[in-house]
């Protein structure tokens, strides 16, 4: 019971509601026995993307790759490299191996990172990352041990310690790691290697996923089954954005009060949350009453929480720019060039705050390719390859009357949403949920590109017009000469 509540308190208010509701239903059904989140997911793997053999293998590769990229970017190493190998061992069993040269994982954390759901949820920090809650890699381990019975093999080394090798499994009932083997190994450089044996079926989507990821993350060298995508640029540093009271659950808030070392209410507010100045904290304190934070009654805490929830985060433009890292015009243009379009249009919106999260929308259009509109979706620098129909991006693109913008040929549309919090519609992170703010931002960019296309088409018409005029003038000359 205690475990459940502690797990619950680690979820954000806007955690994927469907998961939460499902959990509650199952909880109510099995009211005599408490169910861990691991057990819940083990019975509902479809939420995580393990729907069929192809998609399962794809999800394994995707989760490992995303984690590796996150670590490598956060570590800020010199030549960030990620090597992935997918090898068919026999029948439908595959070996998936992912190696990175990031900062490595601390020896004491390794079992929990890989074999505990919701470990690693960043509590007082919001940053643009691919992984979100600390579910992804644990789900890989769960799927591996359930499909082939094999543990995950992790080899890691941090800067100030030796290399270690682990063989781990998840205790599904308790949501705790089981260390099957642990030993010291020789490892030269820092980094982590993860190896799993899973059941699945190879599909070209995996190639496509890695290829697109490599194209839009040019600051990382990615190697897949021998094929190397070399890095070329350097990644700028991303800063995290401050957590506001509105991001916290009530229970979390109480926990914060319990653990704080500040005495007065206003110093608690001022020091715990960036974005609230001393004067404002004072005003709030006056409304509550000048008391010691730890002596507040339940009702007063609730009142304080509701008041603080209304405060919106404010950031300067420079801070906003540093908190999200999009593709940029250069990367988008390079990506679209491979399709040999007639003309490339790019539109990048300015990073904007909405409900205390930073959002950045980028749209690139390679006009003149094929006959239909081909949408390439991206979220936080990684491609979205499944369930296009349910995705907000697809729906928004299709809601535009392209005829109005004189669109006569097909095009490739690249839509990228970069944010400190992407509203996915499913835990499997394949599609983006309906969101009015994002819809409007995407529409803005699409409409701009539509206008550019219209200008281009009218320009082309004019070119042909001038050529025809020249031709006709010569004909007139012929007629005049004949007399």
């Amino acid at each position: 019971m205690k475990n459940c509540l502690w797990n619950l308190s680690n979820m954000k208010i806007d955690f994927h509601r469907n998961v939460f509701i499902q959990f509650c239903c199952i909880f109510l059904m099995m009211i005599k026995r408490s169910v861990s989140i691991a057990e819940f997911f083990s019975k509902n793997k479809q939420f995580l993307g393990y729907v069929n053999p192809q998609r399962s293998l794809f999800t394994v590769v995707k989760e490992l790759l995303d984690n590796a990229l996150d670590i490598v970017e956060e570590s800020r190493v010199e030549n960030p490299t990620v090597k992935i190998e997918v090898r068919n061992v026999k029948n439908d069993i595959y070996l998936v191996k992912c190696e990175d040269n990031g900062a490595g994982i601390e020896e004491k954390d390794v079992p929990y990172v890989f074999c505990k759901f919701l470990f690693g949820h960043k509590f007082l920090e919001k940053k643009q990352t691919r992984g979100q809650q600390g579910i992804g890699v644990s789900s890989v381990v769960l799927y591996a041990q359930q499909s082939t019975g094999n543990p995950v093999r992790v080899i890691t080394k941090t800067k100030n310690s030796n290399g270690h090798e682990f063989k781990l499994m998840i205790d599904v009932k308790k949501n705790e790691p089981i260390i099957i083997e642990k030993k010291k190994v020789e490892k030269e450089s820092t980094g982590t290697t993860v190896e799993v044996l899973v059941k699945g079926r190879y599909s070209e989507r995996i190639d496509e996923y890695i290829r697109r990821t490599a194209l839009v993350n040019p600051h990382v060298t990615i190697e897949f089954n021998g094929k190397v995508y070399k890095s070329r640029d350097k990644m700028p540093e991303i800063s995290s954005i401050p957590v506001m009271p509105a991001d916290l659950d009530y229970v979390e808030f109480k926990e914060l009060i319990k653990n704080t070392h500040h005495e007065t209410v206003r110093s608690f507010i001022y020091h715990s949350f960036r974005g609230i100045g001393w004067e404002r904290a004072t005003i709030i304190e006056n409304k509550i009453g000048k008391r010691e934070v730890k002596e507040l009654t339940e009702e007063e805490i609730r009142k304080l929480y509701l008041m603080l929830k209304e405060i919106k985060l404010r950031m300067t433009f420079e801070e906003l720019e540093k908190s999200v890292f999009g593709f940029g015009v250069k990367t988008i243009t390079e990506y679209l060039k491979q399709f040999k379009p007639e003309k490339i249009f790019v539109r990048i919106s300015k990073p904007e705050l909405y409900k205390n999260e930073v959002y950045l929308v980028e749209v690139g259009c390679g006009y003149g390719v094929g006959e239909e509109i081909n949408i390439h979706r991206f979220a936080n620098r990684m491609p979205l390859l499944y369930t296009p129909g349910a995705c907000l991006i697809t729906q928004t693109v299709n809601s535009i009357k392209w005829k109005y913008y004189k669109v006569k040929r097909g095009m490739i549309l690249l839509v990228h949403i970069a944010s400190t919090h992407i509203p996915y519609s499913e835990q499997s992170k394949d599609a983006i949920a309906e969101n009015e703010f994002l819809r409007n931002k995407i529409l803005q960019c699409l409409r701009y590109i539509g206008r550019e296309i219209k200008k281009w088409e009218t320009y082309k018409e004019k070119e042909m017009y001038l050529k025809k005029l020249e031709k006709d003038y010569k004909e007139l000359g012929k007629v005049l000469d004949e007399m």
């Binding site: 005029l469 006709d472 003038y473 007399m483």
Partner: protein, 357 residues
Amino acid sequence: MSYKPLTKEDVLYMIDNILQDIKEQYRSGTVTIDKPVVRNVKTSIMEENIIKFTGKQRKINTKSQKGLTYIYRLVQILKLSKELIKNNKTLTVRDLYYISSNWGDKAFASQSSARQMLLDLEVLLGVPHEALGFIVEEQKDQARLVGYVIAKYKDLKGREKVINFNEHDYGSLLPVNFLHLDEVEFKINADFVLVIETSGLFRRLYEEQYHEKRNCILILTGGQPSRTVRRLIKKFSEEFNLPTYIFCDADPYGFTISMVIKHGSFNLSHISELLASPKSEFIGVSTDDIISYKLPGEKLTKHEINKLKAMENDPRFQTTFWKRQIKEMLRINRTAEQQSLVKYGLDFVVKYLNEKI
């Protein structure tokens, strides 16, 4: 523009001048010519009782597709015209429209655009397009003339021909190549001219021998009078100084015909001086006649009502007489044909006309 009788050589000279000018301009890179504006109510004014074109022009050049097409067509037509004049041949507007299909995408879209082009040429050169070799189509209802008129002219082969309009029953048709009326010699013996709109009444009056009894010329326009008929009426009215009377149906269409003969039309306002006969008079049938004679007729259609309302602003209908006629007609909501005068007897028309004239 005032009309000067021009010889063939003069016309050819004018055409050559224009073509030379265009050729020189071509070498410089762009060709610019003055295109006359569309002739309609807004660009024509009433002067000396005639609707005249204000002469407003617009410059067009070969920098736009429209301009280039226009100039190309112009040059082609002038080329054709030279051939026609030299070889003494004619082309109708419809022929021109078919010939233009040789010009690729610069062909005329319709016969009316070909006709517009010819009318523009008239303004540019200052001659009626008959002088350039282009003639109007024959009308469905052909124009006839009856009376003591003898016309001498040269036909296509250059032979002299004589028409006696008194010879045959119901007179004779006006020949299609009655082009340059100045080359036709008329010998007339009449007191006045009566212009009639419908063939029914023309037949009636012929059978009553009206032209013999009153010693007049009867001209049947056959609906809207063609250019040739209008020129003829003007000739009789002014050169021979004969009083001219116009006798039409009592409906907006008939009223318009009368005023077109008298003051001219907007379409051809650039050569109104050749076509309008301001000395002519309208004698019937008017709305007053419908009321006083209680003539049978039909109700006004929507189209006719709109036309009457447009006529209220027409400069040709601005006399008190006409204003009253239009107002009354809208009130009684009826029209009447000329032939309805037959109601009171076969020869009632004669009595009616004798009262008026």
